[in-house]
């Protein structure tokens, strides 16, 4: 296994930048998830690492070699595709043997490796079947097997679970995680499902419109999103974002909106808010950090309940603060009704402030 370094890589189609100056380092044995909405350039990035697309600019290093100008077959990578991409006319055995055959290994060595990989993935009874005689989960395992037989330096996976049904997806998630741990494999894993990224990856690279937004551990991305995009993309339900204005009252800053209410900020949040390039800021808060009051309370802002979604052990309430929707979680014993007037109190320690112009997170330092 090996380290993978993307150095300022660019892929443009005419004036469209599918991948725009992305740099990141995947350490040896690390599981990195590339995550972002559809069309943000994840697949393109992965194909660039694989060498399946010509790169416009930048360099890619795998292990101790610059592989930028190498063919896919010489990069010592293996790939798992969204719809498995198994050869439909070959048996499972031949599918697994194919990459070894192409590398002209002796027959008995191929046989030994195929059987070893089949054993690891528990697909020995399927070896003589054809892909169309397998379930989605089995096909996915065969695809993993075909990647595994070659003992590559890096595994590249492009949405390998998105064709499976919800239950199987959760199960395969665990299996891929095990696969990673057992093999100590370096894996770059593309997904549009932030939950998959958060649950599986050591680090996640959040992309949007070809740009790398943030590259960090899932916890850090969740706790300290660098901008409003990341804040709204990671977490389920997403972080609520409320555009507001900052006004200075002596040495304290307050947030206000058209309705005229004022929310005084703590000393630290004041320092953050005053760093904004204009007087526009965005207040970000996750559902669990907001307290809902049924009567007017000091330090809480007025809101109107829009929908109430009981999920069993937790009830989600969507409420309007001005034009913005804020999601709050409640104990199911608290009864609120749509169109009810409520007051929301934001936890000053755990709220986020973003620059209303640049969308970047504001920091106190």
């Amino acid at each position: 296994m090996a380290q993978v370094v993307l150095q300022d890589i660019v892929k443009s189609y005419g004036s469209l930048y599918a991948v725009n100056h992305v740099s990141l380092t995947v350490d040896d044995g690390e599981f990195v998830a590339l995550v972002g909405p559809s069309g943000c350039g994840k697949t393109t990035t992965l194909n660039l690492v694989a060498g399946l697309l010509p790169m416009t600019d930048g360099d890619i290093v795998i292990g101790d070699r610059i592989v930028t100008d190498l063919d896919p077959k010489d990069r010592d990578i293996a790939m798992v595709f969204q719809n498995y991409a198994l050869y439909p006319n070959k048996t499972v055995y031949k599918n697994l043997a194919f990459p070894l055959q192409m590398r002209k290994l002796p027959k008995d060595e191929i046989d030994q490796k195929v059987r070893a990989a089949a054993k690891v993935l528990d697909i020995v009874p399927l070896l003589e079947r054809r892909p169309r005689e397998l379930s989605g989960g089995q096909q996915q395992r065969v695809a993993l097997g075909r990647a595994l037989v070659r003992d590559p330096r890096v595994f590249l996976m492009d949405e390998p679970l998105s064709n499976l049904d919800a239950k199987l997806r959760v199960q395969m998630r665990t299996e891929i995680k095990r696969f990673h741990q057992d093999l100590n494999a370096t894996i770059i894993y593309v997904t549009h499902d932030q939950l998959e990224a958060v649950t599986m990856a050591d680090k996640m690279a959040v992309m949007n419109k070809g740009f790398l937004q943030q590259y960090d551990t899932p916890k850090n991305v969740f706790d300290n999103p660098v901008n409003t995009f990341v804040a709204s993309f990671i977490g389920s339900p997403a972080m609520s974002l409320v555009p507001l204005e900052v006004v200075q009252r002596g040495d304290q800053a307050v947030l206000t909106n058209e309705a005229g209410w004022e929310l005084p900020l703590s000393a630290m949040n004041t320092r953050k808010a005053l760093k904004a390039t204009t007087n526009k800021v965005v207040l970000g808060a996750r559902h669990s950090t907001i307290k809902l009051h049924k009567s007017e309370t000091v330090g809480a802002v007025p809101a109107r309940v829009y929908t109430v979604e009981p999920t069993g052990d937790i009830t989600f309430v969507q409420a309007f603060v001005g034009e913005a929707v804020v999601i709050v979680s409640l104990d199911p014993t608290v009864i609120v009704r749509p169109d009810e007037d409520v007051w929301l109190e934001f936890d000053q320690e755990r709220m986020h402030l973003f620059d209303g112009e640049t969308t970047m997170a504001l920091s106190a330092a």
Partner: protein
């Protein structure tokens, strides 16, 4: 076999499961037949009746001096006469050569053209359009043009061959028993390869990009990618293309009819031109009909085996 249970059934049990017979299936779908009844009636009139009439006619003698309604019952005489005549054997051999050679070379050339045009390069659209011309122009017009190209005195091809020093005299392509059939086959291939090309281009578009990429990552050379991914994927469309080409070639008439009329000395007759000549040239309607019936039976048998081979994969997939 319902779709719902089909998924659970293993391929083995699916294969051994007995199919309900045709009649019980028809009975189960009787209202469906009602809907297609009007179309069926029209087809009976325009297709079934001519077939019936041809079969009937094949059992009668119709000498040129007789009116068709005065035809004389002849039993199987027409069939024995046709099957034992030496012309029949020569024409059948011609037809087989014509069909096999045209189909094979049209398909191979069409596949080659489709593969070369599948890659991105400057002027691809133009090439595509140019190579499609043979299929788009009228066969009659093309036949006349080729007749002139081949002409022994004024033909461009003969003149070129002389200029380039291949021969001292222009070759007599069409008035020579040895060269006439091959010359016609060349024209037919020229016309048909673009049809094969269009079919194969359509087929190539359906080769999953991901499979090719997977093969590339697996270390397959371009040839291996073609052989292990593209070609197996094209099997279905290839078989359809070959079937359509074969049927079209067995039934060809325009090119030989216009360019040589079957001559010289019957050397370029194929089944349909010969049937046409028997019927409309020599008024031997009965013999021509018997001929047509034989051809019909051969075509049906061929089509049956071919369609069976074609649908075998589908059944396995449906389970």
């Amino acid at each position: 076999m319902s779709i719902a249970t089909g998924r659970a059934a293993s391929p083995l049990s699916a294969r051994s499961a007995k199919k309900p017979n045709v009649f019980s299936r028809m009975a189960a779908h009787r209202t469906d037949y009602l809907y297609v009844l009007p179309a069926l009636i029209v087809m009976m009139v325009v297709i079934a009746y001519p077939i019936y009439y041809t079969i009937e006619l094949s059992f009668y003698r119709t000498p040129p001096n007789l009116q068709l309604r005065d035809k004389v019952w002849a039993g199987f005489d027409n069939y024995t006469a046709v099957l034992s005549s030496s012309v029949f054997h020569e024409v059948t051999l011609n037809t087989v050569i014509w069909t096999v050679a045209s189909t094979f070379f049209s398909f191979v050339l069409g596949l080659g053209a489709a593969l070369s045009l599948h890659r991105e390069f400057i002027g691809r659209g133009l090439f595509r359009a140019l190579l499609m011309i043979p299929y788009v122009v009228s066969a009659v017009a093309a036949s006349y043009v080729w007749k002139w190209l081949y002409h022994s005195d004024f033909g461009v091809i003969g003149a070129l061959a002389v200029q380039l020093g291949f021969t001292s005299e222009p070759i007599n392509f069409l008035d020579n028993r040895q060269t006439v059939l091959s010359s016609l086959i060349v024209v037919n291939i020229w016309r048909e390869f673009s049809f094969a090309m269009v079919m194969m281009m359509a087929g190539l578009q359906t080769v999953p990009e991901q499979l090719l990429r997977a093969a590339q990552v697996d270390g397959a050379t371009p040839w291996n990618r073609f052989w292990h991914v593209t070609f197996p994927h094209l099997k279905g469309v290839s078989m359809v293309t070959v079937l359509l080409l074969m049927v079209a070639n067995f039934n060809s008439i325009i090119i030989p009819f216009i360019m040589t009329g079957g001559g010289p000395a019957d050397a370029s007759h194929i089944w349909i031109t010969h049937i046409y000549q028997l019927a409309f040239g020599r008024q031997q309607w009965g013999a021509a009909a018997a001929y047509a019936v034989i051809l019909f039976i051969v075509m049906m048998a061929l089509g049956y085996f071919y369609v069976k081979a074609l649908t075998r994969g589908d059944e396995a997939r449906q389970e």
